[in-house]
């Protein structure tokens, strides 16, 4: 099972890294969002704000890639008629779909490099990481947690053939409520408790605190805790929704 998961992550990362067209999207999207933030914030006097914006844009991409990878892959398998084979295989569906989500999130880490480089070259954003070790741990921790959150989403994708559209629709709401570019203090009060439940909040905070100086370890710890919780919820949902999809005979419908 562990071999299946590791191979799955490696395979999906390689697949996602093969197509230059797809990769261009991976690089361009976070750069554009970071650019909008740079132009609007115009924070030459506060370089930390721009560094935060870079990291926020990168985590935005991470979430997008998780939903696009998981929903897109399932949709692709529906079209190719291989989804039933994947479901019928003895390997648990969680071990097949989980790596797709985590692989997508790890591809999203390209965005961190892209936005930091873009910011440094064009907007003079100083790239100085205060806690390099914590930053190095925060990135995979964020990818894991965001990927596992995607697993819960993916469970619904098994059930609905319009999975891709459902996935895309969750991008902006998650970007808003996790405070990636807009501080949560500006949003209505009810948003804050929601943000605590979502991995991008902690993943971003972990990277931000590690980069600009602060206490990143509690946020990194929350990423690991949430990953376990998401895995339990996502795994259970996948089993339940797989049963419903089998009962309805809807796996193959394109």
């Amino acid at each position: 099972m562990i071999a299946a998961i590791l191979t799955g992550v490696r395979l999906h990362m390689k697949q996602a890294s093969r197509n230059p067209f797809d990769l261009s999207g991976v690089v361009v999207w976070p750069i554009l969002y970071a650019s909008i933030a740079y132009y609007l914030l115009d924070a030459k006097h506060d370089p930390k704000l721009l560094l935060s914006a870079s990291l926020g844009a990168a985590v935005m991409l991470m979430w997008s890639l998780v939903v696009i990878a998981s929903s897109g892959t399932l949709e692709q398998q529906r079209w190719q008629g291989t989804l039933e084979l994947v479901v019928a295989a003895p390997t648990p569906l969680t071990a097949v779909i989980g790596p797709i989500c985590v692989g997508g999130a790890l591809v999203g880490t390209y965005g961190i490099g892209a936005t930091l480089l873009w910011g440094a070259l064009l907007f003079d954003v100083p790239v100085s990481i205060q806690h390099p070790l914590a930053f190095a741990v925060a990135i995979p921790a964020a990818a894991l947690a965001v990927g596992m959150l995607g697993l819960i989403m993916a469970a619904t994708f098994v059930l609905y053939r319009a999975a891709f559209h459902l996935g895309i629709a969750t991008q902006y709401p998650v970007w808003i409520v996790t405070g990636l570019l807009v501080p949560l203090s500006l949003l209505p009060a009810f948003v804050r408790p929601i943000s605590w439940l979502l991995a991008p909040t902690w993943g971003f905070r972990g990277m931000q605190e590690a980069a600009i100086g602060g206490t990143p370890w509690p946020d990194i710890g929350m990423c690991f805790v949430l990953s376990v919780v998401y895995l339990a919820i996502g795994g259970t949902c996948l089993v339940a929704f797989e049963y419903v999809a089998r009962a309805r005979g809807s796996l193959r419908l394109t």
Binding site: V28, A162, Y172, L187
Partner: protein
Amino acid sequence: MTNTFRVVFVGGLTSYRALFGWISPWIFIPHTLGYPIFEILFFAYLGRFAGVQSDQFFLIGNAFLAIAVTGMFGMGHATAGERRSQTLAALLASPANRFAVFLGRAVPSILTGCIVAAMSFSICAAILGVHVDLSSVPGLLLATGASAFACTALGLCLGALGLRGRNVSVFADVITACMLVVAGANVPLHLLPAWLQQISACIPLTHGIEAARAIANGASISGTLDPLLKELLIGGIYLVIGLAMLRFFEYEGRRTASLETF
């Protein structure tokens, strides 16, 4: 001529009805409306945080982006969808006018885009507390129509690329993303570098958004004729380019037998 209209309208209606055979309205409507609503709110709050421009600035810019998305993706997906379902070769073997075939598939999604833009505009205006005078509605509709035309024309170019390449959706996605910055939807044009301002003057949506913002601020239609005409002119140029590309890539697709590659 009658045949062309039949292909546009009957073909388009059939294609649109087929959409709901694939996706439930219970998913389609929240998805189609939810995306632009949250996009507008995201950028409006970012604007508030940055302390630049008003909520109205982001409301209009992003509502118009919703039109761009549907216009460009409607045309782009028209060919990409046929390729994916392996019907592109059969479709191109038919004697029907190509432009009519693909326009028929795009028109319903463009109309949906305009309705979605209007609804998300109204909902977000209520959420953000933005007041737009009723007298400006006709002018806004005019700007909407001009922008929808220009974006669809650009979408035709992307759709033509779909006769040759497989990943036109990703490309359309990147173009839309660039419009977030370059078309002035979220970043005031004067903040952009000069070379980027020159590009923004040549792409769809820039002048449409400019006209819409002026109209919402009280300008008359006659006072915004200049940007409206520019938007239509840009649309016309992209339409001509798109038609030429459609012809060229169909010829290339037949010559290299690449129409069914996926």
